[in-house]
Subunit: 258 residues, 2 copies
C-alpha cells in the first residue's frame, strides 16, 4: 500500500530540479510558495541526486535564482552516502571526484568499506584496480548512485553506474546504492530532523526516483506536473502518488490547508 498524506506533517522533503527550478529559472510561483511554506515553520530538506557538486555549489545556484536555502538543508547523494557509511563503518576507501573530497572526508589506508562516487576522469585503471582488489579481499561496496549516463554540452556522457557494474562483475559483488531512489537517501534526511517517514511528505517531479523511492521508504509523495513529469505518470501501474498537483505552489497550498 502506498503511504497516505499525513494530516499534520512534521517535515517536507522537496526535490530541487524540476520542482523549484528548471535549469537556472525558478518554476513560476515557486519563490513565493517557498516563502509561505517557510512561514509555517515546518522543517524542510531539499533533495538532489548529484554525486559531483558540493552543497556549496548547489546553494550558490539556488541563491542566484532568489531561493533562500542553506547548505545544511540540502540532501545530496554525496551527503546521504556519508551519513550511511559513517553509521555502519569507520574506515571508508573512497573512489570519488576531487570536487567532493571535502564533503566526504578522506580515505583510510586499512579500509573496511569501498565507496564509489562519480569520479569521472578520475576513474583511472589504477584507481579502479585498487578498488577491485579491496572488493575481492572481502570489503563491501557502497555506491552513491548507479545512473547509466547524463547529458553534457557536447553529448551523452557515461555515468558512474557503468563503473559500479564493472566492479560488481569483476569482483562478483553487489553494490548497495544510497542515492535516489534508494531508501537511505530519504531516511538520512529525515533522521537529521528526527522525523519518522509516516510524518513526512515529499514533493517531486520524477515518478520513479522521487515518488517511488520515497514511498518505498514510507514517505507519502506529491507528484507535480512540472520538470520530468509526463502525462502517463498519472496512470502508472506500479507507482501511485499520494497526490498529483500542477506545481510546487499547488503542493504547498494543499499541505498548508490541513
Amino acid at each position: 500500500m502506498a503511504p497516505t498524506l499525513p494530516s499534520r506533517p512534521r517535515a517536507i522533503l522537496i526535490d530541487l530540479a524540476g520542482v523549484l527550478h528548471v535549469g537556472d529559472q525558478p518554476v513560476p510561483d515557486s519563490l513565493e510558495a517557498l516563502r509561505r511554506l517557510r512561514a509555517s515553520g515546518l522543517p524542510l530538506r531539499f533533495l538532489t541526486n548529484t554525486t559531483r557538486s558540493p552543497r556549496s555549489a548547489i546553494v550558490a545556484l539556488l541563491q542566484g535564482m532568489g531561493f533562500d536555502i542553506g547548505e545544511d538543508e540540502i540532501q545530496t547523494a554525496v551527503h546521504a552516502t556519508r551519513q550511511y557509511v559513517e553509521s555502519r563503518w569507520s574506515r571508508p576507501h573512497y573512489l570519488a571526484h576531487p570536487d567532493i573530497a571535502a564533503e566526504i572526508g578522506h580515505s583510510f589506508s586499512n579500509p573496511d568499506v569501498v565507496v564509489l562516487g562519480d569520479a569521472g576522469p578520475y576513474f583511472t585503471f589504477e584507481r579502479i584496480n585498487e578498488a577491485f582488489r579491496l572488493l575481492v579481499g572481502g570489503l563491501p561496496l557502497v555506491a552513491m548512485a548507479r545512473n547509466r549516463y547524463f547529458k553534457e554540452h557536447d553529448g551523452l556522457t557515461i555515468d558512474m553506474g557503468a563503473y559500479v557494474a564493472a566492479l560488481e562483475y569483476a569482483a562478483g559483488v553487489q553494490a548497495t546504492v544510497v542515492g535516489k531512489p534508494a531508501a537511505p537517501f530519504f531516511l538520512g534526511a529525515l533522521s537529521e530532523l528526527g522525523v519518522a517517514p509516516a510524518e513526512a511528505v515529499l514533493i517531486g517531479d520524477d515518478l520513479r526516483d522521487d515518488i517511488g523511492g520515497a514511498q518505498s521508504a514510507g514517505v507519502a509523495g506529491i507528484l507535480v506536473r512540472t520538470g520530468k513529469f509526463r502525462p502517463e505518470d498519472e496512470n502508472d501501474p506500479d507507482i501511485h502518488p499520494a497526490l498529483v498537483v500542477d506545481d510546487f505552489a499547488s503542493a504547498v497550498e494543499r499541505i498548508l490547508e490541513n
Copy 2:
C-alpha cells in the same frame, strides 16, 4: 549431442598453456609428441586466449622451450577478433592495448563497429566515454574476451570483462565475445585451414573454455589431465569430452592410431 572423434581428422587444434607447457616448462613428452604429430602432416593450429600479447611474443616463449611453432599457426583472441571483425565490418573503432596495435590494424574515424581488447591502463575515462558514445549512437560491440580478472605478480588484477560489463550497462547493449569459449575463436582458426568443424579435433586442459567451447562449435574435444584439469571434470553434468587422456603425448598417440 557432443561431437565424436572423426576417424580421419583433417586438422588438430591445440591449446597451449596447460597442454604443451605449464609456465615456462614443457609438459613431459610434449616436445617429442609434437614432432611425431608434425611428421603425420596434419595441419595444426595452436590456441591462446591472450588479448594483450602479440603472436611474436608467444612464439618467442614457445621457441625458448624448444617448440617449433610459427606465428601463422597461432590463434589468439586478438587474431580471432580481427578475422571476425573483418568478415562483417569495414571500419572498426578499436579500444585496445598499444602492444597489439600492429596485429589489429588502425581505428577508423567514421566507424561501423566498436571492438574492445584488454587495454589495461589505457582504459581511460576519455577512451571509455568515446566508445560509449559510439555505442549509444547505434554501433555494435565486439569484445575479445570477458574475463573477470587475472593473476599478476602483485595480486589479482581486473580484466577486460569489467569494461565490457560497464559499456553494456551504460549503453544498454550486449557484446559479442570472440575469444574462447566463443565459437568464432575456433571457427576462425579452422576457416584459415579450410577444414569443417566435424573434421577437426581439439586438445585442451580447460573443460569449459576449451572442450565446451570447441564442442559448441562442432569440434570434438580431447581433455588432457594436465594444466587446469581437475578430477571432477570427468564427471561434469554438462560437458562431456569426446575423450579424456593423461596428457598431450597420449592424445597424439590416440589421434595417430586411427
